[in-house]
Amino acid sequence: MTRSPDQFVLAARVLHWLMAIMIVSMLFIGVGMVASVSERHDWLLAIHKPLGIAILVLAVIRLIVRLRNPPPPLPADLPALQKLAAHASHYLLYALMLVMPLVGWAMLSAGGYPVMLSHSLRLPPIFPVNATAFAILRHAHAWLAALLFLTFLAHLGAALYHGLIRRDGVLSSMTGIRHEPE
């Protein structure tokens, strides 16, 4: 396998940027469709469900890629607290990528809704119909989305900090853009 020791493998980079677009879109679609009473409500909802399942599938693939290809190490001189924050936020991002679609799917199941990914494709329920469970899962879906949004902001802020201020190769390990010193 071709890989330089200070970069993520190509599969990891492709998955990262593809899912970055999908997940950030998903967050905006989610808050937009819940608030909207216009025709946006219905077409955003129609995107939200299949996109969520696509994220779930990609997240599983990504987890496998990650476990088989350990990421490049963080810079040795990174302060311990920042290392801890980096590791913790990545565990959190992976957990949320996997949990958010499952909570959404379970929530629709508990609410007794058919889980329609398109006009004709229906997923089976993964939770018994129960109004109390629906309410809890529906709130959990919103709170976890808020947590995911904050984690994304922290992740983006940290990436830019590494790329613009520390310039320690952490950002380029994922962009693949390398400025080789002379």
Binding site: F28, G32, S36, V37, G111, P114
Partner: protein, 357 residues
């Protein structure tokens, strides 16, 4: 990794400022899309808040059409509609139905004669797991065509704090400013609160699209036409509808015919305030048979959100702007009442005893 050349203090500051700016723009965009930073935009939450402002909050109950009763039965399709829609419910055969009759009021303890309108919501559970949900009203047209106009109607109807009743001047001003309400106003002039749920026809109001086997779309509206007849008007008793229903069902199942109206080209599909001409082609798609009733506090209909955009393959929403608004507002109402049922923190405590009003 070679150490990059050090940055000046000014350069570090500017780069931190750039990062902060990028994050701020994202947060503001998120707040705008989520409407927290767009207080003038009509949202589902604001719509439901207005319903609550008009009627009060009755924990665990729907925010509108709060007074109602569960029913159950089935739909026997005769196959006549399957030329126009591939939905399984229209193949010849039987589909189980869980429904709900209601009075369009926000107060579940309001008298049955509070409004001259009844509603019927149905959930058809197809064998393939897909569902058709519909919420119909006992009137052929809706007062307004858009969510914004409906919101303004609710605002105009908000009780005046000094009298506890809507200000007739505000309501009058609304109708004067909204000529699209003419058809509804003409209808409501002659409407009386019926003594029974089962003698009414129930209209879909909104238009939908049937999709046939070739993928062709057919704009439709539908209505349930009762086999029972009668135009008796409800009495002074506050609760006569449920007793009437139970008594009729004790004598036997109650039946309606599902009449599907096919639009001609050019008939408006985006305006529920206008009836289609009466000469449009109609199909009798089958018979709705209701066999039993349960109180809404314990019946299966309690936890069903009769969102009219929950549709099986073969039926799709039209361009009627009221449909997404109904979907969004019903979802908000459903979340609030299920949260109250679940006794989640921050929700109103559920009450079981009726308000004395």
């Amino acid at each position: 990794m070679h150490a990059p050349p050090p940055l000046s203090r000014r350069s570090v500051f500017l780069r931190f400022a750039l990062i902060a700016f990028v994050l701020l723009v994202i947060v503001l965009a998120f707040g705008y899309v989520g409407s927290w930073l767009a207080p003038q935009r009509l949202t589902a939450q604001r719509m439901v808040n207005q319903l609550q402002a008009n009627a009060g909050v009755f924990p665990g109950y729907r925010r509108n059409h709060a007074k109602g009763v569960c029913v159950a039965g089935y739909f026997d399709s005769n196959g006549q509609a399957q030329t126009y829609s591939v939905a399984q419910v229209f193949s010849p055969g039987r589909t189980p139905v869980v429904g709900r009759f209601a009075v369009p009021v926000g107060n579940p303890y309001a008298p049955d004669s509070s409004a001259p309108i009844r509603s019927l919501a149905l959930r058809f559970a197809q064998a393939n797991g897909q569902q058709w949900r519909t919420g119909m009203n006992s009137m052929p047209v809706f007062p307004v065509a858009t969510p914004q106009a409906f919101y303004e109607l609710l605002q105009a109807q908000q009780p005046d704090p000094s009298t506890g009743k809507p200000n007739p001047a505000k309501v009058g001003a609304f109708f004067a400013a909204h000529p699209e309400t003419a058809a509804f106003l003409a209808w409501v002039k002659t409407a009386k609160p019926s003594a029974s749920y089962v003698t009414n026809s129930y209209w879909s109001l909104n238009a939908f699209e049937f999709i046939d086997a070739n993928g062709e779309k057919h704009a439709v509206r539908w209505r349930m036409v009762p086999e029972a007849s009668g135009d008796a008007v409800g009495g002074s008793d506050a609760n006569y509808l449920d007793a009437d229903l139970a008594q009729r069902l004790a004598q036997g199942p109650q039946r309606w015919h599902l009449m599907v109206t096919l639009a001609n080209p050019g008939d408006p599909t985006d305006d529920a305030s206008k009836e289609w001409p009466s000469d449009r082609r109609e199909i009798d798609a089958g018979t709705l048979v209701l066999t039993s009733t349960q109180p809404q506090e314990s019946g299966e209909c309690r936890d069903i959100n009769y969102d009219p955009t929950v549709l099986p393959h073969g039926i799709e929403i039209s361009d009627d702007p009221l449909l997404p608004a109904r979907s969004a507002a019903y979802a908000t109402s459903y979340l609030r009442r299920t949260s109250e049922e679940a006794h989640l923190p921050g929700t109103a405590a559920a009450t079981t005893k009726p308000e004395t009003k």
